[in-house]
């Protein structure tokens, strides 16, 4: 009987998640993200229109937004360390009240990382604390200290 080992590696703390996401080669970042979220979601976060591009990132092509992919892996590992991986996927797809009801996946695609980084991380921390095993992230900062939620916007962008 064959036993399958996922490529995505669980981490024990937010610091581990950050260190790992920032230090491994970008091809490895993409592989782990694909393993965690699926190629379609990685394509969305990476700002491309086809999963074929994601496959190339795992071999010979450099993604155009590597910093966003590294950050997505950091966030993904933070959530997956305290919740089920399926829940981590759902978190990236779900409409998030801390992000003006947008999904984290589309926030990362559509907005410059420096504008949304703190809000996405704060939302992930808040989520991890709720679904995780109690105080699993004692080093987490408060949501307000991390930047708080995005400003609410209306559908036409005025607001």
């Amino acid at each position: 009987m064959s036993q399958e080992e996922p490529l995505f590696r669980s981490v024990s703390s937010e610091v581990d998640a950050h260190n790992r996401a920032m230090s491994i080669p970008i091809t490895e970042v993409v592989r782990e993200l694909v393993d965690l979220l699926g190629a379609t979601t990685v394509a969305v976060i990476g700002g491309v229109g086809e999963t074929r591009a994601v496959q190339r990132w795992m071999t010979d092509r450099e993604p155009q937004r590597p910093h966003v992919l590294r950050f997505a892996l950091q966030v993904g590992m933070t959530i997956a360390s305290s919740a089920d991986r399926e829940i981590a996927r759902a978190w990236f797809h779900g409409s998030n009240p801390a992000l003006s009801d947008q999904s984290p996946m589309l926030v990362l695609r559509n907005q410059p990382l420096h504008d949304v980084q703190a809000a996405v991380l704060a939302a992930a921390r808040a989520f991890s604390r709720r679904v995780g095993p109690g105080a699993s992230h004692p080093q987490s900062r408060d949501e307000s200290a991390a930047g708080g939620p995005l400003e609410p916007r209306t559908r036409d962008g005025v607001g």
């Binding site: 393993d35 797809h93 999904s103 559509n110 962008g157």
Partner: protein, 138 residues
């Protein structure tokens, strides 16, 4: 889609279109809100994914809103492609209700139609990770 230097869209509510080639069909996944501003991009994405004789699946399960003109694009595409066009919507969502009210042909799925591809390493398997098989997650 207009993008900045780092590839981020200038419209922070823009939907995302991701195409995926499968053995049996081309699949166009639509994420987010398909509003009036996104209709021309949606139409282009559809046109780009039409291949002669191949089924085109428009996966609207991750789509949270659809505007009437986007529905019109699908109706025209249906007229042109016939049974080669399949539209999938998530059970019970707003998009599903719109399709029901407009009586536009569609298929209802009970969960996200796309299955994330996962790299799997079998016990005892060695070698570079990029040689590992990609397959649909279970």
């Amino acid at each position: 889609m207009e993008t900045d230097f780092f590839g981020a869209s200038k419209n922070d509510r823009a939907p995302a279109f991701v195409s995926e080639g499968r053995a049996d069909a081309e699949v166009l996944h639509v994420f987010g809100e398909l509003d009036f501003a996104a209709v021309s991009e949606f139409e282009s994405a559809l046109a780009c994914n039409v291949s002669l004789g191949r089924v085109l699946v428009v996966d609207l399960t991750p789509c949270s809103y659809i505007e009437a003109s986007a529905l019109g694009v699908l109706v025209r595409a249906r007229a042109a492609l016939g049974d080669l066009l399949r539209v999938e919507v998530a059970q019970g969502g707003i998009v599903h209700r719109v399709f029901e009210i407009a009586k536009v042909p569609h298929e209802v799925v009970f969960e996200a139609a796309y299955r994330p591809l996962r790299l799997v390493r079998r016990a005892g398997q060695s070698g570079p990770a990029d040689s590992l098989p990609l397959r649909a997650a279970e």
